[in-house]
């Protein structure tokens, strides 16, 4: 029935677009779902860089950075109700070359993160097998491939089921952190926390202030990906309301989850073990649950880790495909990618195209390189945001376009975001300078390709579709 209706629609000149079926809870699930895995693993490398206090300072500074990201994104995207998120914002506010770069940042950041999550999932299954007595190690590849194929299939079949699935597993993973905190803290539990013993003397700041700076690199891990909520802009029922609500509720959730995670893990695990994410606490919340001696907590946090990993990969497929689809629809990439499934109303070709790329990186690249590529692409995207915000307010002041949300204290959040990005670049340069330079070189090469070759195929008039007034001064 739906099939024939769709045929009729196109026959009568109406287009097949993405479906507007999502609510604010789905937006929350998309944003928090992508990020929450960072609480379950990864953030603790910050402890290794500078000790537990450094990780807490990085947690809160990165929290300020991402609060700025969430506020800025909420304002702009409440007026740009189209898939593509920051790519579409850049296209309307700055220009085509910036948009092309931002689109690539998004696709690489999310696809690499998806690959990283799949690798982690394979590792988790291997760990479970070892815990249940399996000897000789497990072949992780089938589980890595299964995670990517299952989630790609889910995304292919429709956005409502995909993000409802994310809502359930993300809510479970977040609840597991709350339960862990309540069960181990003096508030309700046995009060097993040993902060005083584990964080005194040399252990307080083992590498001094430089350690705090170095910890900023992994401080991003607590929140990396919350900006992905904007990719749902074309599929939410009420973009002006749902996007700011879901995004801001998401960053609040993450600030709570990050602080509780730090409190629980740093109070139960010595910093040397906690900070070693390779040979020590690979999944610190799970390790903390093991230390607590409660089997129920071990199961809860084990399942929480698995769900957080799946939710992140799921959200990444959703976001990367929307960004790729939008670029195809605008002819920044071949228009073939701009197709929408006539029954499921998903960007099905973009979803399919990104599957082999994720598989190649998940099966063939080391986890730290994949993650670093994701972080660096994300960081380049955050650097664009303050520029975008300042230009948006300048070209379209508050009295020219009605926003669903107006962020306070402009331009302070934009300036703070820019300053924190600069600090984080320096921190990344300390640890991954070569990768940073190589990646910037890559984006310069593709920018030249876009400028001198690809842009001739872009339909210049068709790409600006928002019913906005002329920008001030034009």
């Amino acid at each position: 029935m739906a099939h024939s209706e769709d045929v009729d629609h196109t026959a009568h000149g109406q287009s097949m677009g993405l479906l507007r079926v999502l609510g604010p809870a789905h937006v929350w699930a998309l944003g928090v779902g992508i990020v929450l895995v960072g609480e379950y693993m990864g953030w603790n490398f910050a402890v290794g860089k500078g000790g537990a206090y450094a990780a807490l300072i990085a947690c809160w500074f990165a929290g300020i950075l991402y609060s700025c990201v969430a506020m800025i994104d909420s304002e702009v995207t409440s007026t740009v109700a189209a898939a593509g998120g920051q790519y579409t914002q850049a296209k309307h506010i700055i220009g085509p070359l910036m948009a092309f770069n931002v689109g690539l940042y998004l696709v690489f950041a999310y696809t690499m993160l998806e690959a990283g999550n799949a690798i982690t999932l394979g590792f988790l299954v291997d760990t479970v097998a070892a815990m249940t007595g399996h000897e000789g190690g497990l072949d992780q590849r089938p589980f890595i491939v299964l995670a990517i194929m299952f989630l790609a299939w889910l995304n292919y079949r429709g956005v409502l089921a995909t993000l409802t699935f994310n809502l359930v597993i993300t809510a479970f993973a977040f609840t597991a952190i709350i339960v862990m905190f309540l069960a181990t803290s003096p508030l309700l539990g046995a009060g097993e926390m040993l902060h005083k013993d584990l964080m005194s003397g040399q252990a307080s700041l083992p590498y001094g202030w430089l350690g705090i700076l170095a910890a900023m690199h992994f401080g991003l891990w607590y929140y990396l990906g919350i900006e992905g909520t904007t990719q749902a802009a074309e599929e939410v029922r009420s973009p002006a309301r749902s996007l700011p609500f879901g995004t801001l509720a998401g960053i609040m959730t993450l600030l709570i989850a990050a602080t509780l995670t730090w409190y629980v893990c740093s109070g139960l695990l010595p910093w040397e073990y906690l900070g070693d994410g390779v040979n020590g606490a690979v999944a610190p919340l799970f390790s903390a649950a093991q230390i607590s001696g409660s089997n129920a907590l071990v199961w809860l946090l084990g399942i929480g880790t698995l769900f957080a990993t799946l939710a992140s990969a799921n959200g990444c497929i959703n976001d990367a495909s929307r960004a790729w689809f939008s670029m195809g629809r605008d002819h920044y990439l071949p228009a073939w990618f701009g197709a929408v499934h006539p029954v499921y109303r998903t960007p099905y070709r973009a979803i399919i195209f990104l599957v082999p790329i994720a598989l190649i990186f998940a099966l063939g690249a080391p986890l730290d390189q994949v993650i670093t590529f994701s972080i660096l692409s994300g960081l380049l995207g955050y650097t664009f945001m303050p520029i975008n915000m300042i230009m948006f307010r300048k070209k379209w002041p508050l009295d020219t376009i009605k926003r669903g949300y107006e962020h306070p204290l402009h331009p302070l959040p934009a300036i703070s975001l820019m300053a924190l990005c600069a600090v984080t670049y320096f921190a990344v340069f300390l640890g991954y300078g070569t990768q940073l330079i190589a990646m910037i070189g890559f984006y310069i090469v593709v920018s030249l390709w876009f400028h001198f070759w690809r842009y001739r195929f872009v339909k210049r008039a068709d790409q600006f579709t928002m019913p906005w007034p002329r920008p001030r001064g034009y």
């Binding site: 196109t10 189209a82 898939a83 249940t132 292919y156 073939w336 099905y348 070709r349 928002m466």
Partner: protein, 57 residues
């Protein structure tokens, strides 16, 4: 060979199944609908329509 080895084979099998489901549907859709219809989505169409209604109203 223990249970985990069978689970490994199961994971390969399920991966192939999901891949096949996607590819079969992809071929079916691409051969049933015209390219023009499949790529007819336009950004901001809903907003443009809302604007039009507001102006007409």
């Amino acid at each position: 060979m223990d249970t985990w080895n069978y689970i490994e084979y199961g994971a390969w099998g399920l991966s192939a199944l999901f891949g096949l489901l996607i590819v079969i549907d992809w071929i079916k859709i691409d051969t049933t609908y015209s390219e023009e219809a499949l790529t007819s989505s336009r950004e901001g169409e809903l907003e443009a329509m809302t604007e039009k209604h507001r102006l007409e109203g």
